[in-house]
Symmetry: C2
Subunit: 147 residues, 2 copies
DNA sequence: ATAAGGCTTCCATCTACTGGAAGGTCAAGA
DNA sequence: TCTTGACCTTCCAGTAGATGGAAGCCTTAT
């Protein structure tokens, strides 16, 4: 199979497949004309990569997972460790995004969004807190930056 | 104020402040020795930037927000539009991460994580679905890749 | 013969910084 | 006065994970 067929079958762009070869994730053979020739095993690795990437694993995680995938002597604990690390990163990201979302949604809901210049969103970004806008108690705590 | 002071006060690394100047977000003056000299207005812009970035606004969003910030004739609708666009992106990202998290957490919970090679995580990544592992009904739908 | 489409490599670009090298500046101390 | 150390400067490279495009070869059909 040539790269175009593999791209169609795997759903990965040809560019990406070449990139994966460049960084050593796959090693297809070459025909005499220089074209890459993909065997079933290459397709399997690419499918594996596509799936792992769609779950958000980093390229380096993928490299490790592929190695374990091809190792009959592997311990599932090693796989699980990679997956758990990734899960932890996802949870961090989720917490960060959720906090952002909350603040942002509040600001958006406070903004009239008309032709007048008054804007609580800009006020907040500029560090002005023009008297609690609806909710009582804690007077606008400002979340800190997260990595 | 020199860049070091501004960095301490704003919480932004000096490198980042130089970068923001390079891409035209701020334009501090220069002393005769070539050192950047920051006025209060520069500090305000940097604080604004730090806050906007911590809410996840892109640099280009920040550029637009800063422009509106400095425009007395602005319409709050323009600010709100940027914020809403950003909110929508956050929601997309949240949905994507939540889906990943769910699949991943399930796989992790299925994996023994011991010294044996059998691993449902690898099986899934490889496209093998070894008989529904606990839940009935829909026999493992595989989520597609999201941008 | 030539045109279309597929393939190749190489280089640049994207986001938002970050790290480091080489070197100028300034204030304090011996 | 010299030196030391903390600042500051610019410039270049690198990060993750591709993606876009140019220039050019290969193959097949017309």
């Amino acid at each position: 199979m040539n790269i175009g067929d593999v791209a169609r079958l795997s759903g990965l762009p040809a560019k990406t497949i070449r990139y994966y070869e460049e960084i050593g994730l796959i090693s297809p053979m070459r025909d005499q004309n220089g074209y890459r020739r993909f065997r079933d095993s290459d397709m399997h690795r690419l499918a594996f990569l596509g799936r792992a990437r769609s779950l958000g694993f980093s390229i380096e995680d993928c490299r490790g997972l592929l190695e374990l995938y091809g190792d009959r002597q592997r311990a599932s604990a090693d796989v699980k460790q990679i997956a758990r690390g990734h899960l932890a990163r996802i949870d961090e990201k989720l917490a960060e995004l959720t906090a952002m979302r909350q603040t942002l949604a509040h600001l958006v809901s406070c903004c009239a969004g008309d032709s007048r210049p008054d804007c609580p969103i800009l006020d907040d970004l500029a560090g002005n807190f023009p008297a609690g806008s609806g909710d009582d108690s804690t007077e606008n705590e400002r979340p800190g930056t997260v990595s």
